[in-house]
Amino acid sequence: EVEASSSSNHVPEDTSDPNAIVPDEDLPFTRVKLTSDEDDEETSEAVRTVQAWAVDIPDPRHTTSALKWLKSSGLDTPTLSHLKRVRKSPTGTHSTLLLTSTSPTIAPELPSDLDLAAPYQLAVPRSAALTPTSLALKNALWPTVFAPRRKGEPEDWSRARAQWACAAMVRVVEEARAARAAGELPIASYVPAPPEEPAWPSYLARDTRVSSAHPLRHAALNVVRALSNSTASTSASIIPATAAASTPPTSAPTKNGQHYLLTSRALFVTHEPCVMCSMALLHSRVKEVFFLVPMQRTGGCGGAACVPKLEGVNHRFAIGRWKTGAGGVSVEGLEIDEDIDS
């Protein structure tokens, strides 16, 4: 299941500049947009809000003490981290403290020693401002953080990177056809060495739900397991001195905890991962997922649901839907029933 080296990743010869940026329309995949509902907050009607509790501080000199109390109160949750905590009145006579967005029906308890008024509810922006226009609209409701560049913003693709992706998709399709020949469903997934880190190990897995008599042995979960199994033998305490192949490359992410995750890695998969696998990939902190065959009724990357797009999840990964025939990749032999979870 595990492929130890990345030697199969030869980029086809090309005389043009490998560093040239490929325009989006010439990429072998279509980017699945993850932020559509956050993009259009350019009119006051379109600004999405959430109810929150606030309290006026009649004497602005008490603001610091009130902030201190808020920090220790447990009301200060990350759900309002895109908002400033204090708003000063335009005339400077008082300030207002934002308390919490939870328990909308029960007013939070306030300290008696701070001389605060009764808390009240108001509508505040649900997310940070992405444009100057939305910032102005949101500031009118409550002082909001301006975050024009956000995580998950599409990155530029070089010609070399596009060729790397094509080679990876060819490889994973090959594996899926081999799986079918062995009596499995023709589904496979592949985590190649990144183009800028060719010495990193790559991981290849196929769907094994038939041979293992286990309905959950899907290709994406199997590749996550392959990665775990290989890193388990290289954990800090038991690094084999002689096993050069299994020693983590020095340039690999060495931050605590990241060695067993898919952080900074791209995953190529023949079929859109099901909801279970999409969430497994999110738990594993994968950077991007490229799939060839959309699964409209069961997929978790835009089909039945779009897991990294959900509000509340703590990680986002980019999704690329492979364009028909791009990179010479054919879907022949990859047919599965549309009600299968892949």
Partner: protein, 201 residues
């Protein structure tokens, strides 16, 4: 008749509570092992057929949640999962009820539906990843062309489930991608009604 029904509901309620206390024991075991404290028990025909807890750190695999651990044990046991059952296309968990301390995440909820779980009881909601309604209703709200929906009921040992998660999160999770210093954190004991903030990892 009405009083009789109430009695039945109370008896059922006691039974659910008893199983959930066993799930809490598994969560305690996870906490002792420095794992995110989530535990579960799978019950079939009035007896426990699998108990498991989160093992993500130990196995270096972010997908090894309690539910998937237990499912693997059930499927690996031919007495619990006859090979003929799988080839017949029947659901392996059609007669099985799950008790889990925290709402199954989106991954586990999908796995449980693919396995045809009969019913799920959980302690507290999971606002980050909850797959039984908190973030996505994978158990029921989300349509699936094949797998039947299942009911998920919260509330048994809810406060205990929240408190054990808090006990975990006030200590430093040295296995987290970016460990945070938590020396200033205090263990809070107040629990707002139906507004928990646990996480399932």
């Amino acid at each position: 008749m009405i009083s009789g029904d109430t009695e039945n509901i109370e008896e059922a309620s006691d039974e659910h509570l008893a199983w959930m206390l066993q799930a809490m024991e598994m969560a305690e075991e996870a906490l002792t092992a420095s794992e995110v404290p989530v535990g579960c028990v799978f019950v079939r025909g009035g007896r426990s057929i699998a108990r498991a807890r989160n093992r993500t750190n130990e196995l270096r695999n972010a997908t090894r949640h309690a539910e998937l651990e237990a499912i693997d044990a059930i499927l690996a046991n031919p007495a619990l999962t006859p090979p003929s059952l799988l080839t017949s296309g029947a659901y392996p968990l059609a007669d099985t009820t799950l008790y889990v301390t925290v709402e199954p995440c989106i991954m586990c909820a999908s796995a449980l539906r693919q396995m045809g779980i009969k019913r799920v009881f959980y302690g507290c909601a999971n606002e980050r990843f909850g797959g039984c309604g908190s973030v996505l209703g994978v158990n029921k709200g989300l349509a699936h062309p094949k797998h039947p929906p299942f009911d998920a009921t919260d509330g048994y040992c809810r406060e205990e489930a929240i408190m054990i998660l808090r006990r975990f999160y006030v200590t430093e999770n040295t296995n987290a991608p970016t460990p945070r210093s938590k020396t200033n954190r205090v263990l809070k004991t107040d629990i707002p009604s139906r507004e928990p903030t646990p996480r399932h990892s």
